[in-house]
């Protein structure tokens, strides 16, 4: 029972990070209709940037802030250079450009930072776990969760209450109408990519804090795909709930199924789950169902 509770809490904590990264993904899809397969690499870039600043001696929070700023710039640049020219092109074209982007980013990250595992040195969070009753939670997980929640709240309220967020919402709802009312599409797409970069960067930084930073953190970033499929591609609450569910599921599988398999269950479980889920409920929990006509 204790083991069960433990894996559920860890799952929720990690799921918070997945939810944050998935939120960025959903924003891009909602605003510009781009199905982004480069999310894993976005997490890598943010994580490595903050790691570099941190190992130069910058305090952790400040290096996180720097990585947010660089994410903002990179996001707008990416949108301007690559995706601006693809508005109105077929879906496959846009998806493949994001695949190309993922290779490009990955190659550059590996070229600059290498493939060896790097850790945040000195450790940001003490390894002394926090005890709440019977539960034992690592500090990294707790702080990651708190940071993820704070950022989720910031992003969602940006989306809901500010002028720019409302412009993004309008574009997501009906692009034509929003454009004719004077919303700048370029700004909206740029903002969506910037938010995705920033969210992914923070997510990546915390994921890198948990187990050290290497290319496989990018693979964790790829876990947004099961998350958004579960939640529905264009639903912000779906992304958050989906992230937490996938986090829990992954940890439960890691705890209970590892005995029966030679290994690797934890990595595969979300994707296997996604394949099965797609068979029964392809539109996710809260995604829009499109009716197709000839």
């Amino acid at each position: 029972m204790e083991l069960f509770l433990m894996s559920i809490t860890t799952g929720i904590m990690v799921g918070g990070i997945y939810a944050l990264v998935a939120l960025g993904w959903v924003l891009i899809y909602k605003c510009s209709g781009v199905l982004n397969l480069a999310m894993g690499e976005l997490t890598l870039i943010g994580a490595y940037v903050s790691l570099s600043f941190y190992s130069m001696g910058v305090p952790f929070l400040l290096s996180l802030l720097f990585s947010l700023i660089i994410g903002l710039i990179l996001g707008i640049l990416t949108e301007w250079v690559f995706l601006d020219k693809l508005i109105g092109k077929p879906v496959l074209t846009v998806i493949m450009v994001t695949v190309g982007l993922s290779f490009f980013f990955k190659g550059i990250v590996e070229f600059i930072w290498g493939t060896d595992t790097q850790v945040f040195e000195p450790p940001v969070f003490s390894i002394e776990p926090i005890r709440i009753g019977q539960l034992v939670i690592g500090q990294v997980y707790l702080w990651s969760f708190i940071a993820a929640i704070i950022l989720l709240v910031i992003f969602v309220s940006f989306f809901k209450y500010t002028r720019w967020g409302l412009a993004m919402q309008a574009t997501a709802d009906d692009e034509m109408a929003a454009l004719s009312l004077g919303v700048s599409a370029r700004f909206v797409y740029g903002a969506a990519w910037a938010i995705a970069f920033m969210a992914a960067g923070v997510g990546g930084t915390f994921l890198g804090n948990i187990n050290g930073l290497n290319i496989s953190v990018g693979y964790l970033g790829l876990l947004v795909l099961p998350v958004v499929v579960l939640g529905g591609l264009n639903s912000v609450p779906g992304a958050i709930v989906g992230g937490i569910i996938i986090g829990i599921l992954q940890n439960l599988c890691g705890t209970y199924l590892d005995k029966y398999f030679p290994g690797g269950v934890k990595e595969i479980a979300p994707f296997a789950f996604m394949a099965i889920f797609l068979l029964f409920k392809p539109h996710g929990l809260w995604g829009w169902e499109r009716i197709e006509r000839v």
Binding site: K89, F104, G107, G263
Partner: protein
């Protein structure tokens, strides 16, 4: 895009001519020239390095053909084709290593050809298994299912289970002399080259003929609009699954061909990167064109080799370049895909088509 304008003063008088493979003497001459180059010039004048590049091209063509069939002709985007190639390669290897072959088949050198066929069928069925969701989902969701196919097949089943068979550890090494077709032992690049040539020609001709048949037209109808295809009476699910089977079949052939070139196979030979690479090849070559598959394969392999050659002299100045070449390759590949998608979304095959038409219609190109 596949039809070209005929040159001036060439007319067809019956249906058979209209559907002929080589419609003019010029094309026949071109094909004979191609055969001479492939069979005569390359094997006799190329060194071992160029031959290995040719083999790489052939492997890429075989792998990309299945992707082309699925994406370019049936509209089912797949990002997990390396899984089916891996299934083919592992089936073939395991059959050669573990199956109790009768003595007569071994001495006749039939073990490897039979294993190619079995591997192709197994890979095809495996592909159908992961194509089943295409009955219900399409577009982005199907992309995700095929991605799941890659992770489940290669990273889980093959790495964790199949690699343990026989207790050989991660890599299955093939003892020399086991890969044998008839009296010929495939042991150097030249023999691999001939095997590659035979397989590529069979597969390309097979696919082209399949595309001219009823099922080929059904696939194209599904690609263009699956709902109207269904309204017209095409059994959409059946033809989609058939496309998956054929694609997996060719993937299996590709995989079992490639073990003749590898001393040992391990799951690292079939990463997700390779699936994406194959999709990139057909995008650069041109979606929906067999020419495009070949052009894309040649382009990608040759460009990477040239890049490598260009890096070697630079490495004296900056030695890190040589170690990090893999990463430069990845970045260059990604940039190439982006550039092609943005500036030339129809791929190299479209350029080829334009060029051909220019010369066919010359000097009256209106």
């Amino acid at each position: 895009m596949s039809t070209t304008f005929l040159p001036c003063s060439v007319y067809h008088e019956n249906y058979a001519q209209d559907h002929g493979w080589w419609q003019t003497t010029f094309i026949t001459g071109k094909m004979i020239l191609l055969a001479v180059v492939l069979l005569g010039v390359i094997p006799y004048f190329a060194d071992m390095y160029s031959l290995s590049v040719c083999n790489q091209i052939g492997y890429t063509i075989l792998g990309a053909l299945g992707v082309q069939l699925l994406i370019g002709f049936c509209g089912q985007v797949t990002l997990g084709h390396a899984a089916f190639i891996a299934v083919g390669a592992y089936t073939s290897t395991l059959l050669i290593l573990e199956f109790p072959w009768p003595k007569i088949l071994i001495t006749a050198g039939l073990a490897y050809p039979i294993s190619i066929l079995v591997a192709a069928i197994v890979a095809g069925l495996w592909s159908v298994l992961f194509g089943l969701p295409s009955a219900r989902v399409k577009g982005f969701y199907l992309i995700l299912t095929t991605m799941a196919a890659q992770f489940i097949t290669v990273d889980f089943i093959i790495t964790q289970y199949v690699s343990q068979i026989g207790g050989r550890g991660q890599a299955f090494s093939l003892p020399p002399g086991t890969i044998k077709i008839g009296p010929w032992v495939i042991d150097n690049d030249l023999k691999v080259y001939y095997l590659m040539l035979v397989l590529v020609i069979i597969c390309v001709i097979g696919i082209i003929n399949l595309l001219r048949s009823r099922s080929g037209r059904a696939w194209v109808a599904i690609r263009d609009n699956d709902i109207s295809a269904e309204v017209m009476g095409i059994n959409v699910v059946w033809y989609k699954l058939m496309a998956f089977f054929v694609a997996g079949f060719i993937g299996g052939i590709a995989g079992s061909f490639w073990i003749s070139n590898l001393a040992a196979i391990s799951p690292e030979h079939f990463p997700w990167f390779w699936s994406l690479w194959l999709v990139g090849v057909i995008l650069i070559g041109g979606v929906g064109s067999i020419h495009g598959t070949v052009f894309g394969s040649i382009f990608m392999v040759v460009v990477i080799e040239l890049l490598q050659l260009a890096v070697i002299p630079l490495a004296d100045i900056y030695p890190k370049l040589l170690i990090d070449f893999l990463f430069i390759k990845e970045a260059a590949f990604g940039l190439a895909i982006c550039a092609f998608m943005i500036f030339e979304p129809n791929g190299l095959a479209y350029r080829w088509w334009q060029m051909k038409n220019y010369f066919n219609l010359w000097p009256f190109s209106y």
